[in-house]
Subunit: 236 residues, 2 copies
DNA sequence: TTTATACTCCCCAATTCTGGGGAGAGGGCC
DNA sequence: GGCCCTCTCCCCAGAATTGGGGAGTATAAA
C-alpha cells in the first residue's frame, strides 16, 4: 500500500467537514508544503472550505470579500485544467494588493489549483500552496500533479456525501419537447421563433415552457432556463 | 518510466482528432478491454468522439439518435463522479432495447465512464468498456480507476488544444452590478424584485441588464442569463 | 386494460419586457 | 490631466410574455 492510498483511506474515513480539515493537514505534512485547501461551492451556491490556512486569514478573506477579486477563484472559474498560480492574471492593482496581503498572512507565494465542476454548478477548488522559487515549484508540480488530481476527486466524492438531503431535488425529468423548448430559449430564440423551429404553434410551445417551469419549480421563464442549464438538463 | 507515463506521452503527441483515436486504440490494448472511448461536447455544443467502437455502431448510434436515450450520457450528465454502467438506470424499455442493440454491435456489457465538465458547458466522457462478469469488472475498476481518471484529464487537455479559435470569445467581463443583475434574474427575480434587492431603481437595473446583454452578445434577457451561466460568469 | 404522460391546439386580459434615447458623478489607468 | 468605464437616474410606446383555464389524440407503462 503506497502513501497515496494511505492518504485516500484517511480521507475516506472523514465523516464531516472537520474530517476533511484533518485530511488537509495530513496532506500538507505528506507533501511537505505550506498549505492544502479544499474549497467547495454546492448546488445551492453555499460555500465551504477545509484547509490549513490560519483562521485569521480565512476571516480576513471573507470579511474583505476577497472572493470577488481573487485571481485564483476567478481564473479557475473560467478554466478547465489545473493551474499554476504564476500563470494567472495578477496585473490589476487590486490583485497585487490581495497577493501581498495573502503572503503577509502566511500564504505561500506558489500555488497549484485544480478546478472541478459538477452537473449542477457545483464547483470545487483543490489547492496546494507553498513558499519557494519558481523552479522548485515546477518540480513539485510535475512530480505530484497526478496524485493531487486523484486527491481532488476523492475530496469531491467526500464533499458530495455531505451534501444535505442528497442533492435535494432529484432532478426533474423534462420531456423531449420541453427540453427542446428550454434549449431554444437558452439560445436566445423568442417563443415565436422557437415555435417555428419546432414546427408547432406558439400556444403549444407555451404549454411546454409552463410545464417545464412547473417541473423545475421556477418562478419565470428565465429562471426555468437557468435551472435547466444549471442542472445539466440542457446545454447551450 | 511506467506504463501510464508512456501512454500519456503517446497521447500528448496527438496533433488532431485522429491522434486521439490512435490513443484510444493504444489504451484499449494496454488495458486489454474491448473499447475505450472519449466523447466531447465543446462550448458551442458541437460533439465529437474518438474511440474504438466500430464505425457501423457509431453511425447507427447517431442515426437513431441514441444520444437522447443513452443512460450513460444521461446519467453522467447528472453526475459528478465516475460511474459503473451497472449503477445506471436501465429500467425503461427504450434503454434496454438500446443496450441490446449495443451489445449486438460489439459493445461490451460492462462499462466505466468518467464525466468531466468545463467552465462553459464543455462536457466530456471517458469510457472503458469490456465484456465480462460483474465481479471481474469490479476488480478491473478498482485497480485502474485512478489511471483512467488521469487519462481522462489528459484527453481533456488535448481536446482543449483542438478547440478552434481558442474558445472564440475571450469571456466578456461584466461589472459587479451587471453580474448581480444577471444573478438575480437567474434566481428567478423579476426586474422589479431584483432592483429592490439591489436597492436601485428598476430603470437602473435595466441599464445593467442591457449592458450585460450587449457584452454577452445576447439576443434577449433569457439568452444573456443563459450565456452568463454557461460562461461561468455567474452561479445560481 | 386502465392509467399516465406526452403532444397538440385554443381563449383571455394583465403584466412585463424591449427598443432606443439622454445625462451627471465618481473611480481607475496611462 | 484626460480618457474610459461604472453607477445612477429618467422618458415613452409597442411588443412580448405570463397567469390561469379547457380538451382532444396517441403512445408507453403498470
Amino acid at each position: 500500500m503506497d502513501a497515496l492510498e494511505r492518504l485516500i483511506e484517511g480521507l475516506q474515513r472523514a465523516e464531516n467537514v472537520e474530517g476533511l480539515q484533518a485530511s488537509t493537514e495530513q496532506l500538507r505534512d505528506h507533501f511537505a508544503v505550506r498549505h492544502v485547501i479544499y474549497h467547495w461551492v454546492n448546488s445551492r451556491g453555499e460555500r465551504f472550505g477545509a484547509g490549513t490556512y490560519s483562521s485569521q486569514w480565512v476571516d480576513r478573506y471573507l470579511e474583505r470579500d476577497y472572493l470577488r477579486l481573487d485571481p485564483v477563484i476567478f481564473g479557475c472559474f473560467q478554466r478547465f485544467t489545473p493551474v499554476n498560480w504564476k500563470e494567472l492574471d495578477w496585473s490589476s492593482k487590486a490583485a497585487r494588493a490581495f497577493f501581498k496581503d495573502a503572503t503577509e498572512h502566511g500564504v505561500g507565494n506558489q500555488g497549484y489549483t485544480i478546478p472541478l465542476r459538477g452537473p449542477k454548478g457545483q464547483f470545487a477548488l483543490f489547492t496546494a500552496n507553498d513558499s519557494c522559487d519558481d523552479e522548485q515549484w515546477e518540480a513539485f508540480i510535475s512530480s505530484n500533479a497526478r496524485d493531487l488530481m486523484i486527491l481532488a476527486h476523492e475530496f469531491n466524492k467526500k464533499a458530495l456525501e455531505f451534501e444535505t438531503g442528497a442533492d435535494g431535488a432529484p432532478a426533474p425529468s423534462l420531456s423531449p419537447r420541453e427540453l427542446s423548448a428550454m434549449t431554444y430559449l437558452a439560445k436566445g430564440f423568442s417563443r415565436a421563433q422557437a415555435a417555428n423551429e419546432l414546427q408547432i404553434s406558439e400556444h403549444t410551445l407555451r404549454v411546454y415552457i409552463e410545464a417545464a417551469r412547473h417541473k423545475l419549480g421556477a418562478l419565470n421563464t428565465t429562471h426555468a432556463v437557468a435551472r435547466a442549464l444549471a442542472s445539466g438538463l440542457i446545454v447551450v
